[in-house]
C-alpha cells in the first residue's frame, strides 16, 4: 500500500551535496570527542572520569590540527553554495575559540573538582558551546548563524546555573536565559524581514540585494537594527548589557570567563560576518547604529565600573566598555572596511588573551579568599607576587598601557577610526581616548589594592596555585605580552583578512 503510494509520487531527483570533509574537520573532531566523552560518562568508568577534563582539553587542541592544516593549505573553501566558508577570518577565529576553550578547560578543572558540580556533563556543555562557536566562524548564512548562535548559547545558559544549590548561580542562569531568548526573538524577527526582503538567507545575496536602493527603506533599517540588537545582547553592548554584570557575578567563575571571552567573541564574529558581508551596502544604517552602541557602551560601562567593589562585576563592566571599543571600528565599517575589519579581529584576539588572564588570577585568588571583593585582594603582592604581577599585566593591558597587547588593540582601533577621515570617526576616536583615560581609574584601584593595601585579614599564607591554573596563566600572559611586544605576530593573523570583504563586492 505504502509502496504503491510512494511509487505514484513524482520522483524529483535529489542531488547529494558535495561535502568537503577537510573544511569541516575541526567540527567533526569536536563531535567525535563529544561522542567519546558521552560513552565514557555513560559507562561510568569511575577511573576514566577524571580524564574527562583532559579529554576536553585534548578535544580543543586536536581540533586545532585541522585548523592549522587548513591554514597551511591556504585556499578559501566555500561549501553549500556559500553558506559555509572557510577563509582566513574564520580560521583565525576558530583558532582563537579553541585556544580560549582550552584555557577555560584549564580554569574549570580544579574549580569543578573542588565544588559541588556535575562534572562530565559540564564539559559536554562546554564542548557543545565550543562547537557552536566554531560553526559560527564559518557561517555565512542566516540559518547557519542562527543555529550556531543557539548551539553556543543554550549550553551557556545551563552552565551559568550549573552550581545548582547556589541561589546566585540559579539567578544568573535565569537572567541570562531570559534575556538571551528575548534577544534571539528580536534577532529572528529581523532575520525573517531580511529573508522577506531579499528572498535568500545567504549573506552575500542579502548584501547585494539591500545595497541596490539609493537610500534605505524603513523595512531594511528595521531588519538591520533588530539583527544587530540580537548580537548586541551577546556582546553586552549598552543598552542590552544589563544581564552581563548579574550573570557574571552569579555564575561559577570559569563560566564567567567563558561568557566574557568566548561567548562575547562569538557575538562579534557574527557581527563581523553580518556587517562586513551582509550590511556593507547599507552604510547609512549600520554606521550610525554602531556609532551609538559603541559610544554608549564605552561610556556607560566605564562610568558604572567606577563604582564597583566586586572584582568580577568590575570586570563585567570593563568588559562592556571593552565591547564598546571593539564596536567602534564598526562605526567606520564601510568607509574604511579593511582597517575596521583588522581592528576588530585584532582586538578580539588580544581581548581574549588578557581577559582570560585576569579571570585566571581572580579564580586563583578566590581559592584562598573565597571572595570577589576588590578589598579582598589587598596585600596580594605580599603573599602572591606572581599572581599580582600577572594581574597587573592583564589589567595594564586592558587599560591599554604599552607595551602590552591591549595598547596595540587600542591603537588599531584608533587608527581605523582616524584613517576613515570622517567627522563621526574623529568624534568617536575622541570618545575612545576619553574613555581609555577613565578606565585607568578603576583598573588603578585594583592595582592599588593589590600592591599597596594591607592584607584585610592579616592572613598572608601563600596561595597554592594548581598546575592547570598556572598553565592557563602562562598561556594568556604570554599571549598578552607577546602581542604587545611583537604586534607583528598578530599582524600575521589579521593582516590578510580581505577574503571576507571580497564577498561584499557583489
Amino acid at each position: 500500500m505504502i509502496a504503491t503510494l510512494l511509487a505514484q509520487a513524482p520522483q524529483l531527483p535529489f542531488e547529494a551535496p558535495v561535502v568537503d570533509f577537510h573544511a569541516l574537520a575541526p567540527q567533526i573532531v569536536l563531535v567525535a570527542f563529544v561522542a567519546v566523552i558521552l560513552v565514557v560518562d555513560v559507562i561510568k568508568l569511575e577511573d576514566a572520569k577524571r580524564f574527562i577534563p583532559g579529554l576536553t582539553g585534548l578535544a580543543m587542541l586536536a581540533s586545532l590540527v585541522p585548523v592549522i592544516s587548513l591554514a597551511l593549505h591556504g585556499a578559501d573553501r566555500s561549501l553549500f553554495g556559500g553558506a559555509f566558508v572557510v577563509d582566513n577570518v574564520s580560521l583565525v577565529l576558530q583558532a582563537m575559540f579553541l585556544l580560549a576553550g582550552y584555557v577555560v578547560t584549564l580554569l574549570s578543572s580544579n574549580y569543578l573538582a573542588e565544588g559541588d558540580f556535575w562534572e562530565s556533563e559540564f564539559y559536554l556543555m562546554l564542548l557543545s558551546s565550543m562547537l557552536g562557536m566554531v560553526v559560527m566562524c564559518s557561517a555565512r548564512d542566516l540559518v547557519t548563524i542562527f543555529v550556531a548562535l543557539e548551539l553556543l548559547s543554550i549550553p551557556a545558559y545551563l552552565m551559568a546555573s550549573w552550581e545548582k544549590r547556589n541561589l546566585r548561580s540559579n539567578e544568573a542562569g535565569l537572567k541570562y536565559y531570559l534575556m538571551g531568548v528575548f534577544a534571539s526573538a528580536l534577532m529572528l524577527y529581523g532575520m525573517s524581514l531580511l529573508f522577506g526582503i531579499t528572498g535568500s538567507t545567504l549573506l552575500t545575496e542579502i548584501g547585494a540585494s539591500i545595497a541596490e536602493a539609493e537610500s534605505s527603506t524603513p523595512i531594511v533599517t528595521l531588519a538591520i537594527v533588530l539583527v544587530v540588537v540580537g548580537f548586541g545582547f551577546k556582546v553586552s553592548a549598552v543598552p542590552f548589557h544589563t544581564w552581563a554584570p548579574d550573570t557574571y557575578e552569579g555564575a561559577p567563575t570559569p563560566v564567567t570567563a567563558f561568557l566574557a571571552v568566548a561567548s562575547k567573541a562569538a557575538g562579534f564574529v557574527a557581527l563581523v560576518q553580518l556587517v562586513f558581508v551582509g550590511f556593507l551596502g547599507r552604510t547609512d544604517v549600520v554606521e550610525p547604529l554602531m556609532w551609538a552602541l559603541a559610544a554608549a557602551s564605552m561610556t556607560v560601562g566605564n562610568l558604572i565600573a567606577l563604582r564597583q567593589t566586586n572584582v568580577v562585576r568590575l570586570l563585567a563592566y570593563s568588559g562592556i566598555a571593552q565591547a564598546g571599543f571593539m564596536l567602534a571600528p564598526f562605526a567606520v565599517s564601510a568607509t574604511n572596511a579593511a582597517d575596521a575589519l583588522t581592528a576588530v579581529v585584532s582586538y578580539l584576539l588580544i581581548y581574549a588573551a588578557m581577559n582570560l588572564g585576569a579571570f585566571a588570577v581572580v579564580i586563583a585568588v578566590s581559592r584562598k579568599t573565597q571572595s570577589g571583593e576588590i578589598s579582598s585582594m589587598g596585600g596580594l603582592f605580599g603573599y602572591a607576587p606572581g599572581l599580582t604581577v600577572a594581574m597587573t599585566i592583564c589589567l595594564a593591558s586592558l587599560a591599554g598601557i604599552p607595551p602590552l597587547g591591549g595598547w596595540f588593540a587600542k591603537f588599531v582601533v584608533f587608527r581605523a577610526l582616524t584613517a576613515a577621515d570622517t567627522p563621526a570617526g574623529y568624534v568617536l576616536a575622541i570618545v575612545v581616548a576619553l574613555n581609555s583615560v577613565i578606565a585607568f581609574y578603576y583598573y588603578g584601584l585594583v592595582l592599588k589594592a593589590m600592591w599597596f593595601s594591607p592584607e584585610p585579614h592579616g592572613d598572608s599564607t601563600p596561595i597554592k596555585v594548581p598546575v592547570s591554573l598556572v598553565s592557563a596563566l602562562a598561556i594568556t600572559i604570554a599571549a598578552t605580552v607577546l602581542f604587545g611586544v611583537f604586534p607583528g605576530l598578530i599582524g600575521h593573523f589579521t593582516g590578510n583578512l580581505g577574503g571576507l570583504l571580497s564577498f561584499a563586492g557583489g
Partner: protein, 99 residues
C-alpha cells in the same frame, strides 16, 4: 490575499508576546509568552516563503521550531531549579544580584 495581512498578524502577535514577557511575573507564564514571540516569527517566515515561492521559508521555520523546543525545555529546567531552591517562580523576587 495580501502579504501584509500575515505580516501584521505576526507583528501583532510578537508585540502581544513582548507585553507578556514584560508584564508577567510568573516564570512559566513568561515562557508561554516567549512561545508567542517565536511563533510570530515563524508566521513571517512562512508568509515570506510563500511570497517568494521558495521552500527556504519553511526550512527556516522548521529550524526555529526545533530550536524553540530545545529552548523551552531548557527554560523550564531553569525555572524548575529556581522553584526548587526558592519555592517560588515569581521573577520579581529574583533580585539577589544587582548593582
Amino acid at each position: 490575499m495580501w502579504l501584509n495581512q500575515f505580516l501584521l498578524l505576526g507583528a501583532l502577535l510578537f508585540c502581544i508576546g513582548v507585553y507578556g514577557v514584560l508584564a508577567r511575573r510568573n516564570g512559566v507564564m513568561v515562557l508561554m509568552s516567549i512561545e508567542l514571540l517565536l511563533n510570530a516569527v515563524n508566521l513571517n517566515f512562512i508568509a515570506f516563503g510563500a511570497y517568494h515561492g521558495t521552500p527556504v521559508g519553511q526550512v527556516f521555520a522548521l529550524f526555529v521550531i526545533g530550536v524553540a523546543a530545545a529552548e523551552v525545555g531548557v527554560g523550564l529546567a531553569i525555572v524548575l531549579l529556581i522553584y526548587r531552591n526558592r519555592s517560588s517562580i515569581d521573577l520579581e523576587s529574583v533580585d539577589l544580584l544587582k548593582g
